[in-house]
Symmetry: C2
Subunit: 280 residues, 2 copies
Amino acid sequence: MEVIRAVGEMMQAAGRVRAQGQILGLVPTMGALHEGHLALIRSARRECGVVAVSIFVNPAQFGPTEDYAAYPRPLERDLSLCEEQGVDFVFHPQAGDMFPGGYSTYVEVEGLSEILCGASRPGHFRGVATVVLKLLSIVRPHRAYFGEKDYQQLVIIRRLVKDLNAPVEVVGVPTVRDSDGLALSSRNEYLSAEERQKALSLNRALLAGKAAFEKGERSADAIEKVMKKGLEKAGVVVEYVQVVEPENLQRPAKVSGPVRALVAARVGKTRLIDNMLIGG
Amino acid sequence: MEVIRAVGEMMQAAGRVRAQGQILGLVPTMGALHEGHLALIRSARRECGVVAVSIFVNPAQFGPTEDYAAYPRPLERDLSLCEEQGVDFVFHPQAGDMFPGGYSTYVEVEGLSEILCGASRPGHFRGVATVVLKLLSIVRPHRAYFGEKDYQQLVIIRRLVKDLNAPVEVVGVPTVRDSDGLALSSRNEYLSAEERQKALSLNRALLAGKAAFEKGERSADAIEKVMKKGLEKAGVVVEYVQVVEPENLQRPAKVSGPVRALVAARVGKTRLIDNMLIGG
């Protein structure tokens, strides 16, 4: 496994892989790898001859009051995990090389970025879209792997890639959950034991919404109400609970085909998100 | 010469060129080709094994009150000129293929896009940056050629390419002028004979500014005043007259190194721009 820090070196290494006719897969991460990331890496490993994992805590996607400085950075552990998974390249650039002085260019996927998580995190998806476009440009993978856990992010990246004619296939990988149902997230480590119990309400609320649909409920309003009630009962602070069309994130009044149920809530100081396919 | 309309077909053709190890040059244009464009094409022809010219009147860079519909589109003539210059590929996509329904992604080079021409043309450089990034992604040229005539555009594209790690060399080509000094522009054909005489004041004002510098004037204010006076005397409506640093477009108080003098003015209903290196 080769660990590369310099942008230019990564571009050259990736160029050599493509020139050899190998299929190159990229798994962009912010590190603090857990089983969710490992599922992305395993998918890439199965489908690509060469696998690159990027580890970069992207300052452009954190708001001024968010946890950029505190975000976990267990690099040695992350590198061991990558090694165990048979990763070929880890790209671990410095913030000052990705966003040097005078940096001015930002990408925005309009319409999809201001809603849901974007409403409480202004600029977040602009930062995500920008860094993903940069990573795609540096590594130029044939396939790039993203978790369904960050569902809005996945939809935005699919749109970005399509709109900008980026020659890459975006692969969405299902959310990995702990045995108690909690969706894996690097931010779960902020939770106390008590908070972790409360956090289970996100998954349970989604399951309750899904159950309501399966019992015949077709009103988005009613499904959202079921979910919201469960979250409030558990004592978490609901940020949003919404049923949306899978590709454009628009809220339907009636649920006729497959939709995604999305929730965001604060458990103590920790903001968590989760989502589930309903009717698919 | 091959004329390609479909985005996917252009991507494939360009991919074949690169796979053959050929150097691919792209000259992005909006058509209505004149000697200025031909200078870009000749530079590309000299430096690249394969030359692609794109002809696309980009709706995203025109404001609602601007001349998108009226912009000249002499396609047959453009194709003949390309053929004469030994162009290999003309990429002439349809607006609906470049910006299909649901299109949402825009690129912005902040700081450089809101000033000068951007101040009177909000969204213009966002549209330029977006379409250039798309063209670079579709054609993936080794080199891309832009005229110094659109100086702010050139600076923005250089910044965009650097910031987004786009693997392309941006080549700036000097402005081509008619024998009377008028900078060539597809919009010159809007001018009446009388207006064309007035339009000469742009080049003359720049030359006067340059002469003032060469006689020892170092105050940006004073150099701008000289230029402005010439324009006003000629009876054109000045939009801006500015001396700026070549790379960041910031206005220095004192001119110590090489700067660009930039002018924009309306001659009748036609908006014209021109610029000149001073002290270089």
